[in-house]
Symmetry: C2
């Protein structure tokens, strides 16, 4: 099956002899009858190519596919890729892995959208060489075969000649073709031996792949996409605070200027994103009081999520925090500290929001004609009007929301946390995120959707760069490992970037309500080392605020309903661990990715150990998840993944304490006391 078509004749078609025959030939007309290769089960490919995967510059995109054809011919496959701005595809070869599974990879160098797909074809010269090997080994004379080979080599020469800079190869290939022909004519001569030797060489294959025949290629039809975000999408450290609680003196409403004064502390702890809950005017109708009381007292500041008053809505600034210029000043000062400011998009209105008057059609009406306030029966939230996305005027609603986001972009904001995105249509998010990124490609959206798995996944598919997760409720070793495995080993690894938070201003998890310091240390440290993106709600978290609203996973005296005064100067063991861990995260590339995790077997069922590797940076992290007992056990270091020989000594150096140990082999002893320090953050140094 491997000798070449020596000449291509024009297709010889009989003239159809009847209408039936004409109809029949029509069934052939759309078919590429000579195209023999099949490409299937491409990975990554999210929902048949409907959604892009995500990456940051420098990431390696490893692509695999089932590639096969009828018969026994050799195949060639190329991975094609291009940046959105490019006109032509770049190519890199794919290689057979095993059992018709092929793999290849390319690097996304820069921000923006890349596309990739696969092309494959029957590799006749390679098949021919394989048969030459078999026949020569069998002692056959391959004179006729050399003639066929000459045709292949002439084809390579012609293709070399078509591209500039290949004159040398072209000449060499014509020389080889001649050698094949003369060798074929004299099976006893030196030319024959030389020709056979070249026919069997790696060099023949090299030329074949450099100037491929590429006959009847199959192209994987969907052009798959990679959305490459800026680096901070892959590695970020968030700090949430309520600016109204930023005042240094009790009894004062905090301002953006007060927040500026806190930046040395926050950036000093190693955070690079300052996230602020809504900073817009707060409504007064049905304003809530302390602890979510339905009746507010005079002087109660209201809930920042009750957005909008006669002073403006999502495009205005709450005057008690300062002016728009003050906010821009905060952004500028934060930038000097290497930090950026994230805003909070909550698509809902107080009854006093300008939209309620100007666009009543954007809200649902009750039968009595009044606007429907929010409900979660039997609970009623008369202070909030949800936006009605099924409105007939949805286009103008979407355009207005886009306008707000672009305005925030103008202010200098490049990160947006979205409140409850799962209660707004997926199609809206897909559209608005794409629209905003057209103007501000740096924009990063964080999805605050604590809801069902498939809904959270869908929001990530539609364009959210970051997603809140179930981490907040994954406490023991088994559930943490299972969850991390789902995030980093399932298809989610391609499009869902987790952002781990031990607490949020909405969630005071049961496990921390005891106020037990080792538990805070553990919950913090797991977030910061399992996920390259994480955040804390401060200073509540680092000051170990923990008293719950009775029987709820919420805080008593929550800042959502009142201004709080915090002792912003306080430091403790946790603040020390945070600062140290964030510094280590910046210095160790292995902590700047999430999917590079491998869990280790440990003999103790509370000690969790995992390895994270980024090129030469190898870390072994060991955490005692039991906040109440000293635990000890044997950890299995996956030396086979770390290029460590079984009898080779290596040093594990604890970046937290400076202690180090010389280990050998897979199984080594660890012991962790929660009351001293319940974790190791070992760098593995090969000797």
């Amino acid at each position: 099956m491997s000798t070449p078509t020596t000449a291509k004749k024009p297709t010889k078609k009989r003239a159809p002899q009847s209408n039936a025959e004409l109809a029949l030939q029509t069934t052939l007309s759309g078919i590429q009858g000579q195209q023999r290769v099949v490409i299937e089960r491409v990975t990554p490919e999210i929902d048949g190519g409907r959604f892009p995967i995500k990456a940051v510059p420098g990431d390696v995109i490893a692509v695999e596919a089932d590639i096969f054809a009828d018969g026994h011919d050799y195949l060639a496959a190329r991975l094609l890729y291009k940046h959105g701005d490019d006109n032509t595809w770049q190519e890199t070869p794919m290689a057979l892995i095993i059992n018709d599974r092929w793999g290849g990879a390319f690097v996304v160098e820069k921000q923006g959208r890349y596309h990739y797909t696969i092309e494959a074809w029957v590799d006749h010269p390679a098949s021919w060489q394989h048969e030459i090997h078999l026949k020569v080994a069998d002692g056959q004379r391959i004179t006729s075969e050399l003639l066929a080979g000459a045709t292949y080599v002439e084809g390579m020469a012609q293709r070399a000649g078509r591209q500039a800079g290949n004159a040398h190869d072209e000449a060499e290939l014509y020389r080889i073709a001649t050698l094949f022909r003369t060798g074929s004519a004299d099976a006893e001569g030196n030319n024959y031996n030389e020709a056979v030797s070249f026919a069997e060489s790696e060099q023949f294959l090299h030329y074949a792949h450099l100037y491929p025949e590429r006959q009847y290629p199959t192209r994987h039809a969907p052009e798959l996409a990679v959305e490459v975000d800026r680096p901070r999408a892959g590695f970020s450290t968030w700090y949430c605070l309520f600016p109204r609680s930023a005042a240094r003196e009790e009894g004062h409403h905090g301002t953006f200027r007060d927040v500026e004064a806190l930046l040395p502390r926050i950036s000093g702890m190693g955070f690079d994103v300052l996230y602020l809950p809504p900073i817009h005017p707060i409504g007064t109708s049905h304003r809530k009081g302390k602890n979510n009381s339905v009746v507010s007292q005079p002087g109660d500041p209201g809930v920042p999520y009750g957005i909008g008053s006669e002073l403006g809505g999502h495009d205005a600034i709450h005057p008690e925090l300062g002016t728009l210029d003050d906010f821009k000043h905060l952004i500028a000062v934060a930038r000097n500290y290497g930090m950026e400011v994230a805003m909070d998009l909550a698509i809902q209105c107080s009854p006093d929001h300008p939209w309620a008057k100007e666009h009543p059609e954007w809200f649902k009406k009750r039968p009595d004609g009044t606007i429907q306030y929010a409900e979660n029966p039997p609970k009623k939230y008369q202070d909030i009007y949800p936006v009605y996305f099924e409105t007939e005027d949805w286009q103008n609603l979407w355009l207005e929301l886009r306008r707000v986001l672009l305005l925030w972009g103008e202010w200098g904001v490049r990160m947006i946390r979205v409140d409850n995105p799962h209660t707004k249509p997926f199609a809206f998010w897909e559209w608005v995120i794409a629209e905003v990124k057209k103007e501000y490609p740096d924009m990063i959206f964080l999805s605050e959707a604590f809801t069902k798995p498939k809904v959270m996944q869908e929001l990530a598919k539609r364009g959210f760069a970051h997603s809140y997760t179930y981490y907040t409720w994954r406490n023991n070793k088994q559930e943490l490992q299972e969850y991390m495995t789902e995030l980093t080993q399932s298809e989610m690894k391609y499009y869902f970037r987790p952002n781990f938070w031990p607490t949020t201003h909405d969630i005071n998890p049961y496990i921390l309500q005891g106020g037990h310091e080792p538990q805070f240390l553990i919950r913090y440290f797991l977030a910061a080392t399992l996920s390259s993106n994480y955040g804390i709600y401060g200073p509540s978290f680092e000051l170990m605020e923990h008293i719950p609203f009775p029987n709820k996973e919420e805080y008593l005296n929550s800042e959502k309903y009142e201004v709080r005064y915090w002792d912003w100067g306080r430091t403790n063991k946790l603040t020390y661990l945070i600062g140290l861990t964030n510094r280590i995260r910046h210095e160790n590339a292995a902590l700047q990715k999430t999917n590079n995790i491998t869990f280790c077997s440990v003999s103790d069922d509370a000690i969790m150990a995992y390895v994270k590797v980024a090129e030469q940076n190898r870390l072994l992290i060991v955490v005692n998840t039991d906040a109440y007992s000293r635990r000890a056990g044997m950890v299995q270091v996956p030396i086979w993944e770390l290029n460590i020989q079984p009898d080779q000594e290596y040093v594990v150096y604890d970046l937290l304490t400076g202690a180090y140990y010389t280990w050998r082999g897979e199984w080594n002893y660890v012991e962790l006391d929660p009351y001293t320090l319940p974790m190791h953050l070992f760098r593995i140094d090969l000797l």
Copy 2:
């Protein structure tokens, strides 16, 4: 979120104020902004709907999908399906299984191509009722909500009125709408109580689903397909013989008339398909001799796969077998025995085939201008010209092959075994099978591809109704169970119909080369009870022919190269088992499907046990796969799948021997001696 839009206003669009705004609205123009439901991960769906699944009439097609929307509303989903001939979709409801996974099912009643897809929407009335439940339970008065409910009910009434035959429902729904309105107006009266009672009723939901709002529905875009073949595609029993070896007297070349004389024996053993290797004129150039000798002796009959001579090619009959009329007569007589005749399509030619002269362009040329014979280097097959599917004249080649197959259809053939389909392009098979089925919807193609898994799967996807399998080399319990699990639990279950053969005329497997009778019994019985489609190569198999060509998995003195004489009258333990098992297969529906298998735990590692169930027909099959030792062990009967209570007695009745046992509970004792009978075929009878 659940009160209705009381009135639909025409969309209010602002006039675009600039070119930029116009461009922006263009990005909205393709979007259904109010469509909130997402449908993903539909099963079955082969390669995004590229290929149909397979079924036979009466099969239940169970469809699942992830279906979800933003927010917390209730959803409604319908499975849509239609036969190819129908203009309109039929519908059946889908129900939530768990965690946003929905399921539904429909029955394919008749042969042909069905299509199916899914439509889903937000179920506002159901969401409304859910909120009513919560508010009523909370003691709230729902007067305003009843007004909203009246609007829903009026909508149902209007939709009822639009279809004939619903006058009663329409009137009743208008009555209820009035009740809701009067109840709303007087929260202390009886009407209020009656209205609330109805609002909370199942009847409300019944009407809501009978006359659904169906607002902004999402339709799963691909229309998925089911290829429904005739019943014998699902349940068939094949017998292969070489007609030239059918003579009753040694030294004679068998004929179709001789084959007719064997039909009582073959149909008596319970076979319903008689498959004949190629019956066309055999070439004389480079004709092979006995045992594949490259030199034939005078009188050697040649290889039936060396197709074509001056007497004709694939459209002609080998004269030594009889005439075309004789062949048609055989088909007619076989039909009287409830059997049909399968032909063998081998797309290759002897050098004497008419195509070699008339269409030299359908064959590959060697550099010296001669036609390239078949090679599998270092081996050469000078008696065979492979057809060159990369020919520029591929369209006429395809048309000619289609003509041949349609001619066979004219002769009365409705089953075709295809020799080595994996060496011809997938696109050809997809086209030609579809073309032939247009004329002969009953046509069943069997793929004889013993090759790599993905290639075998692809052939099945492209249209082969049946596929040869690796069964021939799956011998021990573990590998049999693993293979059956792959066939019946992976995606293959939807499109790949296995046809199990213990031997073929090409394969004399090592495990049977010892001629050990219990081994033949086991290999036969496993094929016949694991797979609803199976076949034997007779009479070689049932006469326990086993002497190999030295060091090969082939037969010595194979019928492929010579005429054999068989003692067609002989019976033995194996022929008895075959006849009995085939009768049991016909009487027990559970053996007429393949995917209905559940393996049982057994304490012995050679005893294999499996349950097959079809409605009330429950079978437990126990096989000792060790052909040399008596084995005993405990079998775990999956009583939880058989509706048997733990303390309930049941009878296992051995359909092979008539023995029966009363069992209780899961674990029961079995003992099987290969030298008596190494299997049970129990019918489970509930008392």
